[in-house]
Structure formats: structure tokens, C-alpha cells
Symmetry: C2
Subunit: 133 residues, 2 copies
DNA sequence: ATAATTGCAAATTTTTTGCAGGTTC
DNA sequence: GAACCTGCAAAAAATTTGCAATTAT
């Protein structure tokens, strides 16, 4: 995704430079928290305020452009909205990698008497790099 | 679990009335956030302070007595530490139900090049009650 | 007896709000 | 041009800290 303007308009939001900058930051990072977005975005737009980021993070969530990824013991991160997927969170380097939900996993999550609408799966462990250290 | 004193001591924490009260509140609720613990606990111990709750929530997490359950768009909840399990979060009534991770699910979560140590699975949808409304 | 814990008040950090001026469509 | 958005500063909410008095072992 590189056309943030289209993404915003498709979701009934005006395309301001502040919003496209925030989206670019989120997209590049993959998963990023508000403070890091702020730091990031200020390089190109030094006047972009934290209040604007807070307001837009809320708004863009409401408009299904981004999604919150709540984290254990730290501030929530945000990612661009996409199909449900699994987060592989490395306890060594902290990196978050995305991986698809397989058919097999999907089937395994069918639970009696619960009508599933979406899933949020975080797996903690060690990525390849950190295993070999 | 009803013997909170033992639970604390086993994990190298002194058994204070404040701590057992907090644990009781968490245990009864199943999943509960800090403000609700505070409200709860004050019924029996009106002087128990919010600062004490914050301090102990951190400490009891460090000592593996409780676990954070970060939530989308709201304050984290906490639960007693137990084996990994799945949270069924009802989008109708908000209730969180626990369900075991089956052998099948466990197998489905084996991912190449990732050494799994723990999992955090939240499923959003509708519980039986809310489906029939 | 000792070390740890509590409650309070104050400090800090995080998030939200109101509004005048500027921007998007 | 109308409605919406931004940045600022101020307000509110959430969390942490320091310390004297108290409590658990």
C-alpha cells in the first residue's frame, strides 16, 4: 500500500498531509506506538502535534483504516488494517512479524457456542535470528 | 484457588491484607481492570489506596502471580496466572470467557522458524446468550 | 528486629479538550 | 463556501514516586 490518499478517501476521511504522514509511518514500521509515530513524523513535519496524532489515531480506527495492537506492559501499537493474522513477537529482539492464519488454524478456532467474528493472536517466543545466538 | 496467602508466599511475596484482597477481587471477577479492583476492594478496606494497587499489580506480575490481559480500546485487565488459554470476548455483553487450548489448536500454532514460548489468543464474537437476542 | 509494605500527597506522564486559524473538497 | 482539520495551550486522567508510619516474618 502506498496510496494513502486513496485509502483515506475510500474510508470517508479527508486526505490531509498529517494523516498520510501518520499512515506512512505506520506502514513503514509495520507496528508502532504513538510516541514513535510522533518522533517519526516530525522529521518531515516538525509542527505536526501530538494532539493531532491522538485525534487521528482514534478517527482512523473508527474508519477501519488502522487497528490497535495492545501490548503487554507497554503502550499499544498500531498497524494498517488487513485480514486477521498472527503476530510473532520475539522475546529476544522485540520484533513483531506477521504470519497468515492457515486453514488448519482457522478450523482449530471453531469453538462451540461462540460465533466468531475476528481473532487476535499473539505468539511470544524467539525468531530464527535470536534462536541462533 | 482460595488460599491467596499460600499463593503469595509460594511466589516470595509477603502476604498482606492488601494483596490478598486484590487477588480475591481478581479471582472473583476472572478478568478485571485496576479501577474496578479499586472499587471492589474498598468495600472491605476503605483505606486501601490506588497507589498500593498499582504497586502490587506490577509486583505480582513480576512474581508470576497474575497476568496482564491487554484490551483493545480500554484499560488492561488482569487475571490470575494459569496455563495459556483462549479468551472468548463477547461483543454483545462484553463478557470474557476462558476456554482451553486444544491439542488441535496447539498443533496448528507450530510455526516454522519460530520457537514458541507462550500464546495470547483473543477471539471476538458473540456468546450463546447474545446470539439468541 | 529487620526488611518490606502501606497510604498519603505530590510529581510525572499520558491523553483529551476547546477554540482560533487554516485546509480540503 | 461549508464542513472539517490542525496546532496550541490548558485541562483531565492515569500512573509513579518519596517518605514517615505500620506490618509481616
Amino acid at each position: 500500500m502506498t496510496d494513502y490518499i486513496t485509502l483515506l478517501k475510500e474510508n470517508d476521511l479527508k486526505a490531509t498531509i498529517q494523516r498520510t504522514s501518520i499512515l506512512k509511518s505506520i506502514d513503514h514500521a509495520g507496528h508502532i506506538n504513538i510516541d514513535d509515530i510522533y518522533e517519526d513524523v516530525r522529521e518531515l513535519h516538525p509542527t505536526l502535534s501530538l494532539a493531532t496524532i491522538y485525534k487521528n489515531i482514534i478517527l482512523m480506527q473508527e474508519h477501519n483504516v488502522i487497528v490497535e495492537v495492545p501490548m503487554n506492559g507497554e503502550k499499544s501499537k498500531f498497524e494498517l488494517k488487513k485480514d486477521d493474522h498472527i503476530h510473532l513477537i520475539c522475546q529476544g529482539c522485540g520484533e513483531i512479524q506477521d504470519t497468515d492464519i492457515t486453514q488448519k488454524t482457522q478450523e482449530a478456532l471453531v469453538i462451540e457456542n461462540f460465533q466468531l467474528s475476528s481473532s487476535q493472536i499473539n505468539l511470544y517466543g524467539f525468531c530464527q535470528k535470536c534462536q541462533s545466538r
